[in-house]
């Protein structure tokens, strides 16, 4: 089955900086997911490109607040005389929720995530944590082994915990995708929704195909991260909740 590398015993427990950053990022992520949902409730429609509003077609709408319902719009007036001209319409209903505090909480939590994440990435590189624990070794990665690890996990045959950073192949791949792809992607797509930042760095709008595309990608990346969090918690429970939590907190 999955071989756990026998390492220097000093390396066999989670480092303090890993534990610290792990929990700060966990709390930030929970605050971000919650406030992100509150923000999305204000306008639960997703689009592609630069433009998207109640008067233009959506990719899809989420029935998570009554704000997605149409109606309550009056005085449709075209801007130009041509047929198919873009129009202006006035909204005359109150929105279901205000996202003012949600936005402020989102950005406050984002500061914790970004700053802690930066410390974590620097520490991970300079201590060799990524190299020795997180990145799958070239000779270790075999599609067949990866597949077998995945099937075993799906059948809930979870390898017994090591209470340290001796991760299995699937674990290494998943953590790497979360740390080096999904979390940076949510940060970058989040920044692409900022008018001041896209003015300074217009390439962000190019690489994400526009402000609304960035918002849609932000939503999907966050949804996958929430899914990861749920699976991660299930795996922790299945492999010995108490001991795992102890290993990630006060355990030496």
């Amino acid at each position: 089955m999955i071989s756990h590398h026998t390492l220097n015993p000093k390396n066999s427990r989670h480092k303090r900086w890993v534990k610290g950053t792990h929990w700060i990022i966990t709390m930030s992520f929970l605050a971000l997911a919650f406030s992100g949902f509150v923000i999305l409730m204000a306008h639960p429609r997703l689009y592609w490109g630069e433009v998207g509003n109640d008067l233009t077609p959506a990719l899809f709408e989420l029935p998570i607040s009554r704000n997605y319902q149409h109606g309550g719009w009056e005085k449709k007036s075209p801007f130009f005389d041509s047929t198919g001209s873009p129009v202006s319409m006035s909204r005359n209903f109150a929105t279901f929720n205000k996202n003012s505090w949600g936005r402020s909480l989102h950005f406050l939590a984002a500061w914790f995530l970004v700053l802690t994440g930066a410390v974590y990435l620097l520490a991970g590189i300079f201590t060799g944590h990524f190299r020795s624990h997180l990145w799958p070794r070239v000779n270790e990665f075999r599609l067949r082994l990866f597949w077998r690890d995945l099937i075993n996990h799906l059948r809930m045959r979870i390898p017994s915990a090591t209470y340290g950073p001796q991760y299995g192949l699937l674990q290494k791949c998943t953590y790497s995708v979360v740390i080096f792809f999904l979390l940076p992607l949510t940060v970058l797509t989040g920044l692409t929704m900022s008018p001041a930042i896209t003015a300074a760095y217009p390439f962000l709008l190019k690489i994400f195909f526009g402000a609304q595309s960035a918002r849609t990608i932000h939503f999907f990346a966050s949804a996958i991260l929430v899914l990861f969090l749920l699976v991660h918690v299930v795996m922790v429970i299945k492999s010995g909740f108490k001991k795992q939590i102890r290993a990630m907190t006060i355990g030496k």
Binding site: V87, F107, F126, M193
Partner: protein, 247 residues
């Protein structure tokens, strides 16, 4: 090897923490908008400081082609003189029925030559036309063409005093917004009297609205009435909405 790694780790952490405090330090000075003792506002202030410190100065927001102009919802106040609404400004109603010929924008406060501008006065300034994306805090966006006078031209013509730090805008629907001098002198910050090649429609803020293209939509106050330049941050109280919304 082990020892080297330890030092590197410590270095990394210390460097991280030092840069953090570097960002927080300006929070102690009086030059910032207040946080109302509110932890959420502290994050907003950190964002403001970071943007002003780290972003390259006065970059232009993306401008689009005429064909990119999109449908544009009008939200919030769509007519300050609507008798059906609990808030109804009769003075605005009179100006509207007179096609805004009696409308005037007063500019006062920390300026050398306070005065009022009629719409015709403002239209005599060299205009600027820009096709930009409006980003609403709710999450939607729309592209429109705006024609108006750059705020910097008007501020230069009244002569702002050296101590001036904020520009406050007051509207006929009783809203108030303020921006700092950095955004006030941004080339795309304009007082717009035209939208999509016509006079600014009432739902979008006739006769004159502010356009701040580097901030979220609600900063671009509609139905302008008065501009006051101040040395001090004018605290309109914590209504839940962040003051700086470049993000």
């Amino acid at each position: 090897m082990k020892k080297n790694q330890l030092i590197n780790r410590r270095h990394a952490i210390i460097t991280g923490l030092t840069s953090l405090t570097g960002l927080l330090l300006p929070g102690c000075s009086k030059k910032l908008p207040p946080t109302y003792g509110n932890i959420l506002r502290m994050g907003d202030v950190l964002t403001y400081v970071a943007h002003r410190t780290l972003l390259p100065g006065q970059s232009l927001a993306r401008e689009y082609q005429y064909g990119d102009i999109s449908s544009f919802p009008a939200i919030g106040t769509t007519n300050p003189a609507d008798p059906a609404k609990p808030f109804c400004n009769e003075a605005y109603g009179r100006l509207l029925s007179g096609a805004f010929t009696n409308w005037a924008l007063s500019i006062e406060g920390r300026v050398a030559r306070p005065r009022s501008y009629s719409l015709a006065d403002l239209q005599r300034f060299p205009p600027r036309t820009q096709i930009t994306r409006h980003t609403c805090e709710e999450g939607w966006t729309a592209i429109g063409q705006w024609t108006g006078v750059p705020l910097s031209r008007v501020l230069n013509s009244v002569g702002i005093l050296p101590s001036a730090r904020f520009v406050n805008f007051y509207a006929y629907d009783d809203y108030m917004e303020s921006i700092d001098m950095f955004d006030a002198f941004h080339p795309q910050t304009i007082l717009a009297y035209g939208m999509n090649g016509r006079d600014l429609p009432v739902p979008h803020g006739a006769p004159l609205r502010l356009r701040v293209e580097t901030q979220i939509g609600y900063k671009s106050l509609k139905f302008l009435k008065r501009i006051v330049v101040t040395d001090e941050f004018v605290d309109k109280g914590d209504n839940g909405w962040a003051w700086y919304t470049g993000i």
